[in-house]
């Protein structure tokens, strides 16, 4: 499934979107708010759902080649984080919904890996 389609269906607010985002076929996602757990388990996943909104999420996503971050609970990153994500080609979206609900909605769309 294409990320822009997912973003539309989940009404995600795009904070920075890499123009190559739709070259990924999104099948998988991971949710955690502990960076070390993400590092341990989220390699090869396409979307990372988290309520962490600081700049370190970009470094971790880059490290693991995760193309998309969805920040939940209406948490908004600062401009430096958005800039870094733009520079590294990572797409970041925001949503007022919680981790649990976003995970559920992604599952409903068939993103179950």
């Amino acid at each position: 499934m294409k990320m822009t389609e997912i973003a539309d269906k989940l009404k995600l607010i795009p904070l920075t979107v890499n123009e190559d985002v739709d070259t990924h076929d999104i099948q998988s996602a991971y949710q955690s708010d502990l960076l070390s757990c993400v590092i341990c388990a989220a390699g090869d996943k396409s979307i990372w759902v988290t309520l962490i909104n600081n700049i370190n999420i970009v470094a971790v996503a880059k490290l693991l080649d995760i193309p998309v971050i969805i920040i939940t609970e209406g948490a908004l990153p600062d401009e430096a984080t958005i800039d870094r994500a733009r520079l590294e080609g990572i797409s970041v979206y925001s949503s007022p919904k919680g981790n649990y609900q976003i995970a559920g909605e992604l599952w409903e769309l068939g993103i179950t890996e």
Partner: protein, 323 residues
């Protein structure tokens, strides 16, 4: 008017190809010409929808070709925070807009971006009409397109780098990379490990090996940022048969290494945990990523962490096995 740049030889040696291109390209060549503009009377909610549908994070506010303001995602965030998305765009937009000329060189726009810390710049033609928008992304895309022509040259470099170990004869050849990491520098956390991962890929490592080394060094790098007195150093030695990664610092030392190695044990402060760190899984992650790991620590001489990745052997004698 743009002054023609004059460089000394010393400076000229430092100029990268990208910087050269920034002087060659004109803003008109890289800007977005399909304009999505907002009406000053629109609601912030309508603006949000426009941003969402078009996947943009800012837009000029204009009447016909007259620029009257600019609205960014930050303004929308402000309205969302205030719970006032029903208000009009002209209540939240920025009216003192910084613009650039479509006939200027890209380097002028880069200077403007640096000077004013803005995300996007409206582009006006010499008679003052709004003709485009420019983001740093547009500049990167434009530069990238121009760099495509340099692509073949880059391929040669990559080929050379990956054959580095074949081309140089010695009894034992290795490449050493060093990085200094500052205490509490969360802003640059992950920079060194990212560079190491890139270097390994460039040298021909498989993505799997590059990522595992990247993860190990990332965790070690964050430990330097979070737990040391003054930061520390990362040293990576790349050889055809193994990659040795080492971090060292000058304290405070780990009182009980056995305890530190236990999954879930952490001494991170609440503030560090609120950033997502301090799960107590760092050293555990490192151990699962590399073949060998050795942690030595004392209150007198600080902590030294050694991580080794053995690379699978290949048939050709003397060939870099990093692939």
């Amino acid at each position: 008017m743009t002054e023609s740049p004059v460089f000394t030889d010393a400076e000229a040696a430092k100029i990268t190809r990208v910087e050269e291109l920034a002087y060659e390209l004109v803003i008109d060549q890289v800007m977005t010409k399909q304009l999505i503009t907002l009406d000053p009377k629109e609601t912030m909610h309508a603006a949000l929808e426009k941003f969402r549908v078009n996947h943009i994070s800012g837009a000029p506010v204009a009447k016909d070709r007259d620029l009257i303001g600019i609205l960014s995602i930050e303004d929308l965030i402000k309205a969302l925070r205030d719970g006032r998305v029903d208000r009009r765009v002209d209540e939240y937009m920025t009216t003192s807009v910084i613009t650039v000329r479509n006939t200027d060189q890209v380097v002028e726009a880069l200077k403007t971006f640096r000077q004013y810390q803005v995300g996007r710049l409206p582009v006006l033609d010499p008679s003052g009409n709004l003709v485009g928008m420019l983001t740093k992304g547009d500049i990167s895309d434009g530069l990238l397109a121009a760099l495509q022509q340099d692509y073949e040259a880059e391929e040669v470099i990559r080929y050379r780098a990956s054959h580095l170990f074949e081309d140089i004869n010695s009894d034992r050849t290795s490449l050493i990379l060093r990085y200094n990491v500052k205490k509490d520098d969360f802003l640059h956390g992950g920079k060194a490990s990212n560079h190491i991962k890139k270097a390994l890929l460039r040298l021909g490592a498989t993505p799997q090996i590059a990522r595992q080394c990247g993860i190990a060094v990332y965790e070690a790098e964050m430990n330097l940022i979070i737990h040391t007195l003054h930061g520390g150093e990362i040293m990576v030695e790349i050889e055809p048969h193994k990659i040795t990664m080492e971090t060292s610092d000058d304290g405070p030392g780990i009182p009980d290494i056995g305890q530190a190695m236990q999954p879930g044990f952490s001494t991170a402060t609440e503030e560090v945990r609120s950033k997502g760190f301090g799960a107590g899984m760092g050293l555990t992650n490192i151990r699962s990523c590399v073949n060998e790991m050795k942690l030595v620590s004392s209150e007198e001489s600080g902590t030294n962490l050694l991580m080794v990745m053995h690379l699978p052997h290949q048939g050709h004698e003397g060939k870099a096995n990093i692939t």
